[in-house]
């Protein structure tokens, strides 16, 4: 598929230099590489800067509520398994407001991809701590430094045996494209936590900061080794490993529902004879 088919939106609400521009580029490249037609993709988001993504790419879009991108994304797949479902939103949306949906989505394992633009700060609301802001970091609303321990999405996802867990960085486009493609191709719930620096409100976790730390996992790393993945998931310091950290082949929920093998639910007619027989069962 020609990359031009997904459109290019010069006018966005994102700051110049925001990592989201690179993420969108990577998403387009990933989709084009997989030859996915725009009308066969459902692109879902919540609220936040990253969540404006559906407005800046030519795909079917569902821009829902803050923290609530995952529930409709899963339902879309459960109603039309022919669609490729991708959700994009930030760390606040997925790990804060939508934390329960994040945990449930991992457990439910619907075949979809979640791209979390992780900038370790709240951008849209101008600089409050997010669930992934490091302890001690001073922000406008945490003037004495963040007192909450940060949320480690990779460790949580691996601990829950999420069927696909990857990490990437918007500053490494080739890597990010590869991770997005692997996530889309994976048959199950796929998480890509991707660092996308906020140039306006996070003066700590900058491009340089990430660039210095993000290191690709070695080629002989085995992402099916859960214990090894748990170790890698703890690494968040001078070295931050990027790549496919963990994956398994647990069957996805949509693949296990017989009714979905007959295609999209919306077009399946009312089974009147079945309903008549059902009414008889109440007599």
């Amino acid at each position: 598929m020609d990359i031009e088919v997904y459109g290019e939106y010069k006018k966005t609400a994102w700051c110049p230099g925001c990592g989201n521009h690179d993420v969108m580029k990577a998403v387009r490249q990933a989709l084009a590489g997989l030859d996915l037609a725009p009308n066969k993709v459902a692109h879902v988001s919540g609220i936040g800067q990253a969540a404006k993504a559906p407005h800046y790419i030519d795909l079917n879009g569902f821009n829902g509520l803050h923290g609530r991108g995952l529930p409709p994304a899963q339902a879309i797949k459960l109603c039309n398994p022919e669609l490729t479902v991708i959700a994009q939103s930030g760390d606040g949306c997925n790990y804060g407001e939508g934390g329960n949906h994040f945990l449930a989505a991992i457990r439910r394992n619907v075949d979809m991809t979640l791209l979390v633009h992780d900038n370790q700060i709240y951008g849209l609301t101008k600089g409050q701590a997010s669930p992934t802001t490091p302890e001690g970091q001073i922000t406008k609303s945490q003037p004495d430094g963040v007192r909450n321990a940060p949320f480690n999405p990779i460790a949580v996802a691996v601990a829950m045996k999420c069927s696909f867990v990857a990490r990437s960085f918007s500053g490494n486009t080739a890597h990010l494209v590869k991770m997005i493609q692997l996530a889309i191709q994976h048959k199950g719930f796929a998480l890509v936590d991707l660092f996308s620096p906020c140039v306006s409100f996070n003066k700590v976790n900058t491009y340089g900061w990430y660039k210095q730390r993000c290191q690709e996992l070695p080629e002989d790393y085995d992402p099916t080794d859960w214990a090894a993945a748990m170790q890698v998931a703890q690494e968040f310091g001078e070295r931050i490993p990027i790549g496919v950290i963990y994956r398994n082949d647990r069957p996805s929920l949509d693949a296990s529902l017989p009714v979905l093998q007959k295609g999209p639910l919306g077009r399946q007619p009312v089974d009147r004879d079945g309903l008549r027989a059902l009414m008889q069962s109440y007599t």
């Binding site: 407005h55 569902f62 109603c79 009714v259 007959k262 919306g266």
Partner: protein, 563 residues
């Protein structure tokens, strides 16, 4: 039979099997051709406490529970103590011979002799009841065979023996209890409660997706779709919370599947942000809101009509909605079916507002005629229209306010559903003119909904001195209370609203104005519907008659207060 029919109440602790006995007797009565109204009064616990299962039975149509007990099956001493003062004249308590009737008229049953083990006591009680009431024995036998058939011939045989022994034992005590008159109703009717009828109505309308979080008294709607609807191609997902349930449903309708969300007040409170999303996104969704008394956890297993305002005003911002309030089991089916058509047609949330009483109340209902149902609106599944791989005008400004709703994946054009104020293509906008145009467009759909408003049902005297106004499940008790008052020579009519929003005053205001006295009967403490009527029409009812103790309206309770 007397005017009130016969009221059979089974009482005991949760877990003692009173529901099993009640269900089997109800089914036997319906199969025999009797009319029934079942009301279930239970506490929020799985074991212990005090629960009752009441079956009011009649040879003529009835639509309300009764209070005085003609037959009380007491499964424990507490039941005798609590209810001995509520027995009707000539009423009788059936109890184990080991229990103390406390001076009440009673038939002590030697359950130890009739049932070899406690597990058979339910069937023994059924045999005694069937025999004393003169229920058709082959019908009861058939039911026992059917109930235990799966467990094999030996279990069936043991139960049939217990039934036979109990039946014979009771024959010697027939004089203590008048048998029921011959049934007059047709055979082949369903034993159906409100939530089952809602599930059937949804299936008839083509529901394909249901997301829910369990909450009494709404759970059985989803449960019916799981246990029975799955074969008909419904995906039912138990969500992590009500917030997810609502947002999932909006994803489902975006993908072209008709979606249902059943819940009760507390769960619905969590869904309200999603209701607002449905409003701006113009996403269809049917919400079944089965009311129970609040605030917060309130009386979790009892009944109330206090969430009208919640349904009416849930969700920030302004957008149209419709609220249907079934009065009968048949209404539960037909109004749920209608709700799907309305929500698909106007692309805005539609409510089916019921309550615990109606949710759990079994009645004898004729199978629904599926061929007689009107068609249900659908989104546009056609492949044409709209630019290829570009957004079409999902929110096209139209005269009716309804925009073409295409389904992603079925067409080459792109569908963008959005939560902000948006352009016709669904893109975020802050343009003042467009904002007003979009808001006005959405609100115009409310006018369309108003034009299709279901008029209130008028029962009894056409030009009455006393007009009783009610909505939802109160209709049956109110209509019977009106009968009682008419029998005393009063001129009484009933106006029962099965749609409480939007309202079309032309349908009912002249009748309200014509009555000498208008009393609004509601299951809440503030007269929410009476206030809504005044807000919409300026008409003020003469007075309200309100009940908010979590208990069901009965004709006797109402007539006494309207006397």
């Amino acid at each position: 039979m007397s005017h009130t029919g016969r009221n059979i109440v089974i009482g005991g602790e949760a877990g003692q099997g009173l529901v099993t006995i009640g269900q089997m007797l109800t089914r036997a009565l319906i199969r025999s051709g009797y009319e029934v109204v079942v009301s279930q009064d239970y506490m929020s616990r799985v074991r212990g406490g005090h629960n009752t299962y009441s079956i009011r039975v009649h040879d003529a149509p009835i639509a309300a529970p009764a209070e005085a007990m003609d037959v009380l099956v007491a499964l424990n001493q507490e039941t005798v103590s609590l209810h001995k003062g509520e027995m009707a004249e000539g009423g009788i308590i059936i109890l184990d011979a080991a229990l103390d009737p406390e001076g009440a008229r009673a038939v002590p049953v030697p359950f130890k002799d009739v049932a070899p083990r406690p597990i058979f006591e339910n069937v023994a009680a059924l045999g005694v009841l069937g025999s004393l009431l003169g229920v058709d024995r082959p019908t009861v036998e058939g039911l026992v065979r059917e109930t235990f058939g799966k467990k094999g011939d030996e279990v069936v045989g043991q139960n049939m023996k217990v039934l036979d022994d109990a039946w014979k034992w009771a024959e010697a005590h027939r004089a203590s209890c008048a048998a029921l008159p011959a049934p007059k109703g047709p055979k082949g009717r369903m034993m159906l409660h409100g939530n089952e009828a809602i599930a059937l109505g949804a299936l008839a309308a083509g529901v394909k997706f249901c997301s829910f979080y369990p909450m009494t008294p709404a759970t059985s709607v989803a449960q019916e779709l799981i246990s029975k609807g799955r074969k008909l191609g419904v995906v039912v997902e138990q969500a992590e919370d009500e917030i997810a349930a609502m947002n999932m449903a909006l994803g489902a309708t975006y993908a072209g599947a008709k979606a249902l969300v059943p819940t009760s007040g507390g769960g619905f409170a969590l869904m309200t942000e999603g209701v607002s999303l449905a409003g701006v996104m113009e996403a269809p969704v049917v919400i079944v809101l089965a009311q129970r008394p609040g605030p917060a956890t309130g009386l979790p297993t009892r009944t109330e009509q206090a969430d009208l305002n919640l349904a009416l005003y849930a969700g920030h911002g302004e957008f149209p909605r419709a609220i249907l309030a079934p009065a009968t089991i048949e209404d539960c089916f037909h109004l749920t079916h209608a709700a799907f058509d309305l929500t698909e047609r106007f692309q805005t949330p539609v409510f089916v507002l019921t309550d615990q009483y109606l949710s759990d109340s079994y009645r004898a209902v004729a199978p629904f005629d599926l061929d007689a149902l009107p068609p249900v609106a659908e989104p546009d599944f056609t492949p044409g229209g709209g630019p290829k791989f570009k957004r079409y005008k999902r929110y096209e400004l139209t005269e009716s306010g309804v925009s073409p709703r295409k389904v992603p994946g079925f067409t080459e054009t792109l569908v963008l559903a959005d939560c902000h104020e948006h352009t016709e293509q669904g893109n975020i906008t802050e343009d003042a003119g467009l904002r007003n145009a979009m808001n006005d467009k959405r609100l115009r759909k409310g006018e369309g909904l108003r034009k299709l408003c279901i008029p209130p049902r008028v029962i009894g005297d056409a030009k009455p001195d006393l007009l009783l106004v009610c909505w939802g499940s109160s209709e049956g008790p109110v209509a019977e209370a009106a009968d009682l008052l008419r029998a005393k020579g009063r001129s009484v009519g009933v106006m029962s609203f099965t749609q409480v929003w939007p309202l079309d005053p032309a349908q009912f205001l002249p009748a309200l104005r014509a009555a000498k006295e208008v009393v609004c009967v509601e299951g809440n403490a503030t007269g929410q519907f009476a206030r809504l009527l005044r807000q919409e029409t300026g008409f003020e009812v003469s007075r309200t008659l309100l009940r908010y103790d979590g208990r069901i309206f009965t004709p006797g309770w109402l007539a006494e207060r309207l006397g």
